[in-house]
């Protein structure tokens, strides 16, 4: 059912029904105005997502990232085992700065050519690409819209996210890489790629637009650097701005510099489905806050954990990981942010829970073909090339890794905030 009716329509219709049913009506405030205020207080999140979509969408036309991927393939001489590690880490690093959907859109075509030309086993490569792109989303606030939403809503700084989530992502990437090498060892060893087969690859030929390469890539780097140093600049100069302004300004500059058609940007580069999904979710989840459902959910989590912090951390880490395998992690994450905030209001120590939630939803997204939007994009592209990955087969490899990564995350959080904190 969820697949048949578009999720934007589901949240849209639900949101408007809630408005008509006067769920948002507060003393002296109109139901619609109150509902829309849940969107307007998140304009920074929406602006950031749109700005990055445009900037990354324009810059990826340079072909720079494809060139790096092809250069890596040549560098490792096509060796399947090393290539799996190299492409996995490339996906991880790209996701940190570009977020996971653009990363998947850039790397999947390269991977499909490799599978076609070198007869590489597709399952290990697709699962690795998807896993790294998902866990990479938890590294920094700009790695994934949900991480950004969480950091922004809770007030977590860039450095805090990187030194908490980011460090654990590095550990998870190592665990995931070892897992892939172990479970796919036979498939990877069964393929012999001769170095001369990839020797003729020409990474520089992947460059499509040199103007974008020379000016767009630096623009992207400056934009990301500004986002990283935003807190410092604001503190040192007193000039206040946020990521939405940076990303939207940079995207306007990119459109102007590269003479792009604004209508084309609006029609083809901005993914309005995601934007409207977020807007609808802000309203629907706002209604859950307004009606006390979120508070009750927070209470339920406290009840299940018997008020024990360690049990609560375990519940949020593993619950988020497992649930994100099967349900859309965006609404889940936004609901849980509110629920954890409700717990914080009653004096519960929630600081580790932010990382448990962020990492749990990110790593859980990699567990099944439908766990995250980028998985659907990657496997959809594979289908076009008649590379079909069965749901259960993916789950058989993906789900155990989610459990392992979930336990590792809990373990690290427990040591850091359970043992060391006390």
């Amino acid at each position: 059912m969820a697949e048949k009716v578009n999720k934007v329509l589901v949240v849209g219709i639900t949101g408007f029904l809630l408005i008509f049913l006067q769920v948002f009506r507060a003393t002296g405030i109109d139901s619609q105005d109150q509902a829309f205020s849940f969107v307007s207080r998140n304009l920074d999140v929406l602006g950031f997502i749109i700005g990055m979509m445009v900037l990354v969408g324009v810059v990826r036309e340079s072909g720079f990232f494809e060139a790096i991927a092809i250069w890596l393939v040549k560098k490792v001489k096509g060796n399947p085992q090393i290539l799996l590690i190299a492409l996995g880490y490339l996906a991880l690093v790209m996701t940190m700065f570009l977020s996971n959907i653009p990363t998947i859109l850039i790397l999947t075509p390269v991977l499909l050519v490799l599978i076609n030309e070198l007869k590489l086993p597709y399952l290990p490569f697709f699962i690795t690409l998807i896993t790294m792109a998902n866990i990479g989303g938890a590294t920094t606030p700009i790695s994934d819209p949900t991480t950004y939403y969480q950091a922004k809503t809770v007030g977590l700084s860039f450095v805090e996210v990187v030194t908490n989530s980011g460090l654990i992502v590095i550990i998870l990437s190592i665990v995931s890489t070892i897992y892939m090498q172990v479970v796919f060892r036979k498939q990877l060893k069964s393929v012999k790629v001769k170095a001369k087969e990839v020797a003729a690859y020409k990474p520089s030929s992947a460059i499509k637009n040199r103007k974008i390469l020379y000016m767009g890539v630096p623009l992207l780097v400056i934009t990301i650097a500004l986002m990283l140093s935003k807190d410092f600049i604001v503190h040192a100069t007193g000039i206040s701005f946020d990521n939405a302004s940076i990303a939207l300004f940079a995207s306007c500059i990119a459109i102007l510099l590269f003479d792009r058609d604004v209508k084309d940007i609006f029609q083809h580069i901005i993914d309005w489905e995601i934007i409207f999904f977020f807007m609808g979710l802000f309203i629907v989840i706002g209604s859950l806050e307004q009606t006390g459902v979120v508070k009750a959910l927070g209470g339920l989590l406290l009840y299940w954990s018997q008020g024990n912090n360690t049990a609560l951390e375990f519940l949020v880490t593993m619950g988020s990981s497992v649930l994100s395998v099967f349900i859309d992690n965006v609404p889940y994450n936004i609901t849980m942010v509110s629920a954890i905030q409700a717990m914080a209001k009653v004096g519960v120590y929630v600081y580790p829970l932010w990382w448990a939630l962020n990492l749990g939803t990110s790593l859980g997204g990699a567990g099944s073909p439908i766990g995250a939007a980028c998985n659907v994009v990657a496997l959809g592209q594979a289908e076009k090339e008649k590379v079909h990955i069965k749901f259960l087969k993916y789950l058989a490899y993906g789900f155990p890794l989610v459990i392992i990564n979930g336990l590792v995350t809990f373990g690290v959080l427990y040591i850091r905030y359970g043992l060391l904190h006390h």
Partner: protein, 151 residues
């Protein structure tokens, strides 16, 4: 000017069950870049043209990104892909959605449709039977007639 004034009655129909290699050999021999495909009941079921054969050997990601095709070209890959595709059946790659024309249709309508598609072969139909084709050669003929160019 109508289709009946320019269409080609010389038809090389092929069966949907022959291989792509056999179909290509027939196209080379007949000097046609596109042919009509019939089923065992002699009914028109598709069109096969050079672009369709090319599309079946060029991976989609290379079609969508020409630079990738150049940057990641492995020696003999084109030949490997030809070998992979040559024994497939025509029905596996033929075009099943295509524009059909009638004798009474204006050349202007056919010309307009030419601009909308990469398929340069339109079957001419009469009472549900294919009786000829209009290709770029026939359109060239129509242009020559329109501009009063004598051969």
């Amino acid at each position: 000017m109508l289709v009946k004034d320019i269409y080609n009655k010389h038809l090389i129909p092929i069966s949907e069950d022959i291989t792509i290699k056999e179909a290509l050999a027939l196209m080379i021999k007949s000097h046609f870049n596109g042919v009509v495909v019939l089923n065992h009941k002699e009914e028109l079921v598709g069109i096969l043209c050079i672009q369709d054969i090319v599309a079946s050997i060029v991976p989609i990601e290379m079609q969508e990104n020409v630079n990738l095709a150049e940057a990641m070209y492995k020696e003999h890959f084109f030949q490997d892909m030809c070998a992979k595709v040559k024994n497939k059946k025509v029905k596996d790659i033929m075009r099943k959605e295509f524009f059909k024309v009638t004798l009474a249709m204006s050349v202007m309508a056919v010309a307009a449709e030419f601009l909308n598609t990469d398929l340069f072969v339109f079957p001419v139909m009469e009472e549900n039977k294919v009786i000829g084709i209009v290709t770029r050669s026939e359109l060239k003929k129509a242009l020559a007639l329109g501009m009063e160019i004598t051969p």
